[in-house]
Each structure stands twice: as structure tokens, then as C-alpha cells.
């Protein structure tokens, strides 16, 4: 059983051994630390950059233009905001040159709240990310998807932003089908193989398990739970919370269909719209701030295309539109959607009578 962070690490290893990744870099990404979440420990091509996010994104663009395959990390998405024009530049490289250049690069960054990360380690980046045309945007909710989406990001000829919900990074696979294929079932055995030891690491080398080229296509959602009464569309950290909400509501006779988007752009409208046509009710859940939220786009499209299919007003449940997520437990809980909030909105939407 692997954690999400181990899954990312194994995908990066497969990327550098089999798919041409040349540089995995960012702040504290190389030895000795191997990433503040340990995601880059033991990787052959990992190196430390200056503490300069614009330099990191710029260097990744240059490497990509010169035929290298970079995976760059922004240590927390909270520190990606000063790179937005460079992210735009990467997204525009193919289009602005009328197809002459391409810019195959991956930027990975931890996102979201849920770890009491205070104001500058709790931001979401969903809405900003989806306003970067030319980028593909993914966010996994479990180790298997993290592994398969990272490999797909690595082989994609476009810039891909890999957002990892930081609250899930150290979490093990919960359900069947969420595990990376080929890893030892014993957690301790896997840890001995690929987790760097405490203390002196200069002589340590990882022993990588033989994991396959599992490619989870960018743009394909996953139906986490089939249901008939209401569709809940979410991604990342809120997949698990919405699953718990669905479990709770099953006892009340509300049968939830839960969609894990996995890709925010391009996104799987086929799966989402088919589900809404089946259940006729929908709630979009995410933790980014609610004004000009990505869920609002999905809601707009729902109204544009599926208005006469709906039995209840479609809802967006998102984070409060405030400057940050406060540190105190009470503040964090009041800022981003919690289980109770989600249960209430699903229940109200499912029971709504026109």
C-alpha cells in the first residue's frame, strides 16, 4: 500500500527511467531533502533550484523548448501566483507560434487546505489554473490516479499542471482500485525500499518496485460511486469527503452518484452531463474561493445545456470568498466545505420539490 506521495515519486521514477524525464527540480526537491513532502526522494534527475518560482517556471519552459523533459515543482501553490504570466507564456507557446513550438513540461504543486496550513499553505489554485488556456490541469484523489495522471502528464506534449491535494499526500489508498499496481502490499516493506532514511542519506539508494506504465488519460473523469438520485461532481480532497456524505445520505434513502473529475482541463463533460441527465440534480463541490469559481463554469454549462433536465436548482458549494484560510481549527472549518455542509446541500438539492 502506497501513499499518494510515494505514488507520485514512483511515477516520477518511471518517468525518468522510461519516458525521458530529464530534470525534476524546484526548491528542496533534490538531495538531501527530496521535497518537503518527500515526493522526490531518491530520484536520479532531482535537483535543487534557487528559491525563485519565476526562475523555476522559466527554466522549465526553456528546458522544454530545448527538447528536455522537465518536471518542475512549486513547493506550495500559494507561491505560484507570481509565476502566472510565465504560466500563461507556456500555455501560449504552441498557439502564439502558430504550432511551430511546443512546450512539454509538468509543473506539480500541492494545493488546498485541510492540514492547518495557515494563510499561505492553504490556498487553492483551481480557478487560476483553469484560466490558463493551453495547459492541461489534473488533480488526483488517490494514489493510483496520482501515479497514472503523473505519467500521462509526463508524456503529454503540452504543459500540464499536476495539483496534489496536500491533505491527501501522506494518506494510503483507502479503497480497492486506489493502489498503484506492482507495489508490495506491506507498507513497511515499500517504505524500506523507497523512503529515504533519517540522518545521513549520502549512501542511500532506493530500490524501486516494478510498477507498470499505467496511463490514466487526461480528460477522463471517474465515477466513484454510482447512484440515481443526485450527481455530485468534485475532485481532489473533496472526493473522500463527498463519499462520506454519500454514505451518510444513503441511510436516508438518497442515492448519490459521485464523479471524481480528475482532470479540470480538458474536463469530461460527457460523463458529467450523462450523469446529470440521469439524476436530474447536481451539486458541484470544491474548496477554492466561490467567486469566479471553476464550479461556477460547470454550473453555467449545466444551465446552458441541461436546463430542462433539471428537477432542482444546481448548486455550487465552495470555499468562502475571503483572503485566506485562517489557522485556528474553527476558522479553517468555517472557510472550506466540511462534511456537514456537503451533506446539507446534497440533501436539500435531492429533496427539492419544484
Amino acid at each position: 500500500m502506497s501513499t499518494m506521495v510515494q505514488a507520485i515519486r514512483m511515477a516520477l521514477h518511471v518517468g525518468e527511467e522510461r519516458h525521458g524525464v530529464t530534470d525534476i527540480f524546484g526548491e528542496d526537491v533534490g538531495p538531501p531533502l527530496g521535497g518537503v513532502f518527500t515526493q522526490t526522494q531518491g530520484l536520479r534527475t532531482a535537483w535543487n533550484s534557487p528559491l525563485d518560482e519565476r526562475g523555476i517556471v522559466g527554466a522549465a519552459i526553456g528546458l522544454a523548448l530545448a527538447g528536455s523533459r522537465p518536471v518542475a515543482e512549486i513547493q506550495f501553490c500559494d507561491y505560484a501566483f507570481n509565476t502566472i504570466d510565465l504560466l500563461k507564456l507556456a500555455g501560449a507557446m504552441h498557439w502564439s507560434s502558430n504550432g511551430d513550438w511546443s512546450c512539454p513540461m509538468v509543473v506539480m504543486t500541492p494545493v488546498g487546505a485541510g492540514i492547518h496550513g495557515s494563510i499561505y499553505h492553504s490556498h487553492s489554485f483551481d480557478a487560476q489554473a483553469t484560466r490558463l488556456p493551453g495547459w492541461k490541469i489534473v488533480m488526483p484523489s488517490n494514489p493510483r490516479d496520482a501515479y497514472g495522471l503523473m505519467l500521462s502528464a509526463i508524456i503529454d506534449p503540452n504543459p500540464v499542471l499536476f495539483m496534489a491535494p496536500k491533505a491527501l499526500l501522506r494518506q494510503k489508498a483507502i479503497n480497492e482500485g486506489e493502489e498503484v499496481p506492482g507495489v508490495p502490499s506491506d507498507d513497511r516493506e515499500l517504505s524500506k525500499m523507497i523512503d529515504a532514511p533519517l540522518g545521513d542519506r549520502t549512501k542511500w539508494r532506493p530500490r524501486w518496485p516494478d510498477t507498470p506504465d499505467l496511463l490514466i488519460p487526461i480528460g477522463e473523469a471517474r465515477i466513484d460511486r454510482h447512484g440515481h438520485d443526485i450527481t455530485v461532481v468534485t475532485y481532489g480532497r473533496h472526493v473522500q469527503i463527498c463519499r462520506k456524505a454519500a454514505d451518510d445520505l444513503a441511510g436516508e434513502g438518497i442515492d448519490v452518484e459521485l464523479i471524481d473529475m480528475r482532470s479540470l482541463h480538458p474536463y469530461d463533460w460527457v460523463t458529467i452531463s450523462a450523469s446529470i441527465k440521469k439524476t436530474h440534480r447536481v451539486v458541484f463541490v470544491n474548496e477554492d474561493t466561490e467567486v469566479t469559481n471553476f464550479g461556477e463554469h460547470l454550473l453555467r454549462r449545466t444551465i446552458d445545456e441541461l436546463f430542462y433536465e433539471l428537477y432542482a436548482p444546481p448548486k455550487v458549494l465552495a470555499g468562502k470568498h475571503i483572503p485566506g484560510v485562517g489557522l485556528a481549527d474553527s476558522l479553517e472549518k468555517a472557510s472550506v466545505p466540511q462534511l456537514d455542509d456537503i451533506v446539507q446541500v446534497i440533501r436539500a438539492t435531492a429533496r427539492h420539490e419544484p
Binding site: 526562475g55 527554466a59 526553456g62 528546458l63 523548448l65 530545448a66 527538447g67 507560434s97 502558430n98
Partner: protein, 345 residues
Amino acid sequence: MTTTISKVRNGAEESLKPDLLLQMHDLMLKARVLEERLIRMQKQGDGFFWIGGPGEEAFGVPLGMLIHKGEGPAYDYLHLHYRGSGTMLALGADPVDALRQMKSTASDPYSGGRNFASHYSARKWNVVPVSSPIEVQYSMAPGTALAQRRHGGSGITIVTGGDAGTAEGDFATCLIWSSRKGHELPMLIVVTNNQYGISTPYDGQHGEKRIADRGAAFGIRTLTIDGNDPETSYRAISQAMDYVRKERKPFLLEAMVSRLYGHSSSSGANYIEGEADGLKLFEDKLIARKLLTRERADLMATTFTEELLEAGKRVREEAPPSPEDIWKHVFAEHSVAGAKKGTRS
């Protein structure tokens, strides 16, 4: 470590061969005539906006002549700013293509009608797409140089920008990333200093006497030159490139240049008296040395002006991009960079 203008001018200089001087003059003149044609096109409604490099020919042309041209990390990468027409012509670009970009035709090979004039892009020559932000190239350039450091050989990365743009953090990024101990990058970092950011003079915005001085803190070899003199430029660029190619370390070259038609069409794009005109000064020099006559120089200008006038008429008839083209190339279907490594074109 910083060499001043006077030192370069007074240093032991081997004279450049007459053929080379005349080739430089030909390209500088063509670059000037091209820019003047582009300005006219914009003023006559055959383009939405003009920006370009009249006043930088005496630096840009020698730069282009000294580039190892080709595709992939074995050759030089160019991260140009939007005053690089002289460099592009010296690389062998067809001046008519610049007219196409001005006219926003579908046939514009640099952007398919998507971008402003002087926003060049040519993968076959490692010319990275020029973009309007005046600083981002300084952050991207270390990336191509990293690939070249790993690749080995003599290919280098050249990045150009203006003096005003060095106030952005990206310029510091460039100095820091190129000079890390044990990870030095083969980069020729160029600042063409025309003393202005749109309307704002250099003095009052910058405390540093010379921008090149900023390299010294990073152990970067630096030089400030008179970029209005193509012979000085040629020699300085050549020496700086030799150093970067061999030592695989960065070099910061500041060239003092002019801005002969102002910032852009937004500021009128009229010839500004009182600034040194590198082309005129060079012509006077060549005439004094009996390598050129005034009649010959005037004939060259008239002939090329007429050629471009006729070309402009033809370009006017070329099709604009179709509305559905907006959807083309949002995503790449497959990687193109590095697909043909090491081809010389």
C-alpha cells in the same frame, strides 16, 4: 571585471575585413528600410501596431551574423526582445515575412497573424517566440542553457532585452541561475540600453551607473560597449561568444544603442533627431575609407525601399486568417521541440 566603452574602443583591435564590413552595412541598411516600411504600413492602415528595432541595427546585425544557426541544443538559442529585426535578417529571414506579420496575414510564418510586428519565432533557427512582456525571456533563457550545458558542444543561449526590463526580477533570475557555482550556464546575456522605458528616462529609475555592473556581484564577466558602432559590436560579441562557447559560463554584455523612432507606433514612430544613428555613422566611415560611395548607399536604400513597397502591395492581397483558426494549436498533438536534433539549416 567590467570593461568600459573607452577600453574597448582603445584596445588593440584587429580590423574587420572589407567584405564583412560591407555585408554588415547591407544588412543594417535592409533592417532600417524594413523597419521604415513597417512603420509606413502601420500608418497607412496596413497593420494595427508597430514596434521594432531602428537604432539597434549596429548591434543586432553583428549578433545575427555571429550566431551558430540551427535547430536543437547543439546550436545557439535566441531569446530576443521585440527589437530584433536586424538579427533576424542577418540570420537569413525573408523581410517579406515581417511585412506579413505586420499585415496579420495567415501566411505570417511567425505567428499566423496572431502577434505584433517584430514578434519573431523560428524553431528551425532556435528563435524562441518573442513575447511582449519585456522581461520573461530572462527567466526562460536559463532553461535552454541548462539543456545546452548538459548537451555539451559549443551551442550557447543568447538573451536580449532592454534597459528598462532589467528592473524586473527576471533579470536577477537570469544572473542568479546562470552563475551558480558548479552549475554555470553558457549564456550571452545582452542588454541593449537605449536609455528609455517608453517615456521614462533611465536616469531617475536606475541607481546603477551601468547595468553591466550588476554582473560583477555574481562573478559574471561583463562589458559595456557602444552598440551604435557595428565594428565594436562585432568584435565584442565575437569575444564574448568565444568565452561563453569555450568556458561554458555566462557573459553580460551591455550595448548602448539608440531608439530612432521612439518606443512604438503608440508614441508616433517618427524619426528622432539628436540620437546617434548607427547606420549613418557607419556609412560615413565606409565612405571615408573608400569602401562605399554615397551614391551607392543611396541606390541600395532606394532599390530596397522599392522592392519592399512592391512586396507590401502583394502582401496586402494575401488572405487573413479565418475566424475558425482561433482554435488551431491550442494544444499540441505531439512534441515538436527536439524532434529533429542537430539539424543545421
